[in-house]
Amino acid sequence: MSLPRVLCARFPHLALVVAWRDHPELRSEPVIVGGAPELRLPVLAASAAARASGVHPGQPLREAQQRCPEAAFVAADEVSVAHLREELLSRLNRLAPVVEVGDEVAWCDLTGRHAAHPDSTGWAVAVARCIQELLDDDDVAVGVASSRQVAEIAARQAGPHHIRRVAPGEEAAFLAPLPLSVLPLEPAVAARLAALGLDCVGAVANLSAADLQRQFGPVGMDLWHQARGGDGRGEWSPGHGLGIPDPPRRLGERILLEGGTGDLEALRFAVHRSALDLGDRLRHHGCRAAAVILVCELEDAEPSGLRITPLQQPGSGAELWPVALELLAGMALTAPVTAVRLEVEGLRPGAGRQVDLWRGGDAAGEEIGGVASRLRARFGQTAVRRAELTVDPGDLPERRFRWIDPVAADAGGEGRGARAAGVATELTAAGGASEGSRGRTSEHRQVTAASGVPAAVMPLLRR
């Protein structure tokens, strides 16, 4: 099995690159992107010359003008930035199987071996050149390591037009002499570490996990992982590359039609709606479907269904809709339709797949959380709990920790299965995960037409 390798490339903000493309004469001038200085908006990006004057992203534009009066202020062209981001993603996908592109940073999974670049250094150079050519800028810094965070720190340490490689197993040694400011620490934690005389990552790495957790709680565990070259709890750890969760094998959407209908327009609307929703979920999972199934449930009759294996595997709503329409056209309906079910199966990672870089958690974690919540509902709140160290424990041992609801503790961010508000949805996981698979095998969602359909279409569905 290949050792995981993650490449991090840092480059000028894409909004700044777009501004330089539109105004080549500003290449050597201080440029601030965000809008006119009169606007009460923050700085989105600043060129190196402007940064040298003390301007930084997030600063109010008015303050930026005071610090750098000679700078040119440019409004951000969000459409062009989005196009540039898509183009960068597309090009990097030709070089690496898993890519994440942000406005100032890109990540590529270099685990394994590339056919055209058998040498890992050559592979990293090819990625760096690809970014340089597209952005027409040499100011690209690249770091390669076995974890996401170490790769980013290596990129920062490399500086423009350089590649910094951290060999597998040498992450801790690479981090040890660096100041603690390279780690993403909260100011309070950083201040406390400084007060304890810990001024470099190596000093923190030498502490035990227990000691750090006693001092800082869960943050201490993150710090413990990070100081040793990991990515912190709940994110990605060495050995998992960019850590993509397994996709489900089958997805489904079902729309109930009140009272049954034979109206083709109503059916077309329901299938269209299902296709778009299902397409969103395919995009969310970064998958393409090998087969599409449309089933119409009939009043007082057996359901009628068709299955198709499309030549081009759909990975979005726009691609899924023509396939679903073709299925609907081929359907011979003998009775009013009470529900429409659109399913996709044979899911596999699609090209150009984006990973959820900023969101922790995985399908297994949510499954465990769901079961824990059901156990609490059945056996009481004390049946399943999670402990948390208290900040001010006092002298009594029982005050050192407090019990918390494990599900509520996990629900800090948006759940993976949570969907857009305003539509009554019911998400059910059908069947257990297969052996050896971390992901759900299938998930089907049901939407009642009454809750999810615009009022103007309701009469059609009730007919």
């Binding site: 957790q213 565990m221 709990r385 999670r386 050192r400």
Partner: protein, 278 residues
């Protein structure tokens, strides 16, 4: 020409699937979860605790260190993955687990409201089926109290052996690690379900300046389906203390005394052990 045996095999395969009958050479070895403790990973077990099997820390009686060792291993597991701790003893101190280095945010603590073993096993099984990869079970002595209010195990806890067998099946199906701590008298069903049984016997308290630093314990592999039984090792289970110098330098909670004594050539001196549980 089909023989009666081949016909019977074909019938079984047709009725229950291809996987029900396999040749012996297709079974392969047992995957192991490395504990990070060399004494366990290299001397007592082949590579660590077996995955998809039930391992058992058993003790004769009194203070043996089985719970401390169980919790030290839970602490290691919680730093890597989600761990579940089924506390049927009712004495878990999360603060002690944190001192051992556990990541409390990755640890789910289960307690059976009625104190019944069967109920606890069912709860644990649900989480294993959902994907919990590491399960620790702390069992009281077979006749001792385990409910929230103490007292003896309810008489209605019949059929816990059946729940245990379904838990064992789920652990095998989901490739989870399951470690059970139990005191004598060991129920027969538990001993039967275990693939690896380590017997803990106390050697004495580790003391310094009149203060108890830890417990010396003797581990013996009394049953093993994954390696050769009979191996032994001596351990020091060090009790961590918040803000002590040893914690600041990251001393491990489990120290292999066998290796240390070989290096230092220092004989072990056992202290008297009071007859207390735990």
């Amino acid at each position: 020409m089909p023989t009666p045996l081949s016909e019977a095999l074909a019938t079984l395969r047709r009725r229950h699937g291809e996987a029900v009958i396999r040749s012996g050479d297709a079974l392969g070895g047992v995957e192991a979860w490395p504990t990070g403790l060399p004494v366990l990973d290299h001397r007592l077990t082949p590579g660590g605790l077996p995955v998809g099997r039930v391992s058992l820390l058993a003790a004769a009686s009194g203070a043996s260190g089985r719970l401390t060792l169980l919790q030290a291993l839970v602490a290691v597991a919680s730093r890597e993955r989600t761990a579940v701790y089924l506390d049927l003893v009712g004495s878990l101190d999360p603060g002690f687990l944190a001192d051992l280095g556990a990541d409390l945010s990755a640890l789910l603590v289960l307690r059976s409201p009625s104190g019944r073993w069967g109920e606890g096993f069912s709860m644990a099984r649900s989480l294993v089926v959902a994907g919990a990869p590491w399960l620790a079970i702390a069992l009281p002595a077979a006749g001792a109290g385990s409910g929230p209010a103490g007292g003896s195990r309810p008489r209605s806890d019949l059929g816990w052996e059946h729940r245990l067998s379904t838990l064992v099946e789920s652990v095998a199906a989901r490739r989870a690690v399951c470690l059970v701590s139990a005191a004598a008298p060991l129920p027969a069903a538990l001993g039967y379900a275990s693939s690896l049984t380590l017997e803990c016997a106390a050697d004495g308290w580790e003391e310094a300046h009149g203060d108890v630093l830890g417990l010396r314990t003797h581990l013996t592999v009394v049953k093993s389906k994954v390696s050769t039984p009979g191996e032994t090792a001596a351990l020091l289970l060090r009790y961590p203390r918040p803000f002590a110098a040893a914690e600041a330098v990251g001393r491990p909670a489990v120290v292999d005394l066998t290796a240390t004594r070989k290096v230092l050539d220092v004989p072990a001196v056992a202290s008297d052990i009071p007859a207390v549980a735990g």
